[in-house]
């Protein structure tokens, strides 16, 4: 499957260290990774192993020390950022799903999704139409006007997924998306991520400690002391 397609995420010789001298910590050591469309990848590792650092680097939040990062066919880092507008890059290419869903408490479900489209330049009506479709797709169409405070954990996570997918990103980065959910709801979320990967030809990276979803990944990578290995 992967041999005919170009990777959506391609990382070569990527390193990141914090501090210098005796205080130097190598968070990522010479990472090489290719992730293709339709793939749902699990990223495991103990606390402090570098998982969040890798996610932040792929999400263009944290600058690596050296290496190359190519996202959706665009070389964005080659020992330095090649784009100055990293937020624009994230808006265009990357969707984020958080452990604590991070919905705006003052926006309705509809507006939480529409805000991304508004930022991307959609008209208000087009943004609401697309947001409504996504919420329907994620089976929370009956909660469009509800505020996050009145949503259940599962509903809030679906709205957060809808927000991550609003601008049709081809790269989805999920940080512990099932940590706060029971087995059944965790399974539903993973099914949704799989559906997104297939329908949008997207690559999904899931950082998790949740053993109950290990069998849902196409590949599982382990990070330990900044070194990536495939299981």
């Amino acid at each position: 499957m992967t041999e005919n397609k170009k990777p959506l995420i391609s990382i070569k010789n990527l390193s990141k260290h914090f501090g210098e001298g005796e205080t130097r910590v190598d968070a990522l050591r010479n990472i090489n990774l290719d992730i293709f469309p339709e793939q749902v990848i699990g990223l495991l590792g103990p606390s402090g192993s570098g998982k969040s650092t890798l996610l932040n680097v792929i999400g263009c939040i944290l600058e690596p020390t050296r290496g190359q990062i190519e996202l959706d066919g665009e070389l964005v880092y080659n020992d330095r950022w090649l784009r100055s507008d990293l937020r624009g890059l994230r808006l265009e290419k990357v969707g984020f799903i958080f452990q604590a869903h991070n919905l705006m408490p003052f926006l309705s479900s509809m507006d939480n999704v529409a805000v991304v489209l508004d930022l991307a330049g959609y008209s208000a009506s087009a943004a609401r139409t697309r947001a409504g479709e996504l919420l329907e797709y994620l089976e929370v169409g009956n909660r469009v006007e509800a505020f996050p405070g009145s949503l259940s954990g599962g509903e809030a996570q679906r709205v957060a997924i809808a927000r991550a997918l609003a601008n049709r990103p081809r790269i989805v980065l999920a940080d512990e998306p099932t940590a706060a959910l029971d087995s059944e709801r965790a399974g539903i979320v993973m099914d949704l991520l799989r559906k997104v990967a297939i329908d949008q030809q997207a690559a999904v990276i899931v950082v998790t400690h949740d053993e109950k979803i290990y069998d849902r990944f196409d590949q599982i990578f382990h990070l330990r002391d900044g070194i990536l290995s495939q299981t």
Partner: protein, 378 residues
């Protein structure tokens, strides 16, 4: 999508409580400006009401308001003969404390010759003085009505008319008496004082025919400065124009109070600025995670700056409007007059806008420093 509006709408109660708190503070600032204006207006009000072009007072004094002045009443005859003088009057001024309905009442007694200059500008109710003794016209702020009696010194007076805009530079409402009555009030000794003076062999003078000032109106084509120079050449008199009298009142009589209130107003504005900055900073800190999330999903800085600045401006302007409305509605309950001028209101609104923008800087700085990775933290 206006995030500031959505946030305010969602937290409307809390936002309005914050605005109300701010409105009290800005209301106090507005009240202080009103008191400041009121102080100046009160100081000038009597001079404006009397509306004399020339004030003649005792040589070497800046009377009759800044310093005591005493000149013979018949000075007005000499002044009346100067070329360019249209009309003259002789007036006395005196502060007095009396009682009305069992309450202390401070009054500013103005004695004038009925039919001459120096009387009340308008009679709002009743009639003016006709020359008969023991009648008075009072400013409506005294709380006295027509037909009321009031004891001043050894004599009782009947109120026959009311007027407005007649207060001393200290804000005491005026009572107009005939010049003869005012002089008796000023110079007559009490019976016990008379007996004491007689016992010590002093010559008791029951009245003197002196006044605080002689005032004059001039013809339209006359030069007030020349008239002042002419009077200044006389041996025992000083003269000044209405404008000079106004300057003495605002720059001498109420100068310290004016500076005090001005300084207090400046400090209040500074305190308001610090409080607004703290409120905005707290509002920003409350939204740190949302701001980090916005950055993470790609919101440009202008969206985040807009969220903070628009809320700050809304808070400041709503707080100002509420504060203004509050003070406007309770201004009559203040013991001293508040003069609320539209330009002062607009200027304060402008200052509030500037304060909100400046105060937002710290909030914006904090928001722009937020690491988007904070959104990913558990």
């Amino acid at each position: 999508m206006n995030l500031a509006y959505r946030d305010v709408r969602h937290n409307f109660g809390r936002f309005m409580v914050t605005c109300f708190g701010l409105s009290l503070l800005l209301g106090v600032v507005l009240a202080m400006i009103g008191i400041y204006r009121g102080l100046i207006a009160d100081a000038l009000e009597l001079v404006d009401t009397i509306d004399a072009d020339i004030w003649v007072v005792e040589k070497g004094t800046r009377g009759p308001f800044a310093e005591s002045s005493r000149i013979p009443r018949d000075t007005r005859n000499s002044v009346a003969r100067i070329f360019g003088i249209k009309s003259v009057g002789a007036v006395t001024f005196q502060s007095i404390e009396t009682e009305s309905d069992g309450k202390k009442l401070r009054l500013y007694v103005i004695g004038y010759e009925p039919g001459q200059l120096g009387g009340p500008k308008y009679i709002t109710e009743g009639r003016g003085l006709t020359g008969r003794n023991f009648e008075a016209v009072v400013d409506s702020r005294t709380g006295l009505d027509i037909g009321d009696h009031i004891q001043l010194g050894r004599n009782g007076f009947t109120i026959v008319g009311t007027t407005v805009n007649a207060v001393s530079s200290g804000g005491e409402p005026a009572i107009y008496l005939s010049l003869d009555d005012a002089q008796k009030l000023q110079f007559d000794l009490s019976p016990s004082a008379t007996r004491r003076e007689r016992a010590r062999g002093a010559v008791v003078v029951n009245s003197t025919d002196t006044v605080s000032a002689v005032i004059a109106r001039t013809s339209p084509n006359a030069s007030n400065d020349n008239i002042v120079k002419t009077i200044e050449r006389w041996k025992h008199f000083a003269a000044m124009t209405e404008e000079q009298q106004g300057i003495i009142l605002t720059q001498s009589v109420v100068e310290k109070a004016r500076k005090q209130i001005g300084m207090f107003t400046a400090i209040l504005i500074l305190v308001s600025a610090v409080i607004i900055a703290l409120i905005i900073h707290t509002m920003t800190m409350d939204k740190i995670r949302e701001i980090a999330t916005l950055k993470l999903i790609g919101a440009p800085d202008r969206v985040i700056i807009g969220l903070i600045v628009q809320q700050a401006l809304a808070m400041g302007l709503i707080g100002f409007a509420m504060g203004g409305l509050l003070i406007f509605n309770i201004q009559d309950f203040f013991p001293k007059r508040l003069v609320l001028q539209p330009m002062d209101g607009l200027s304060l609104a402008g200052v509030v806008v500037v304060i909100c923008l400046l105060s937002s800087i710290y909030g914006v700085y904090t928001a722009l420093k937020v690491d988007p990775a904070k959104a990913l933290a558990g």
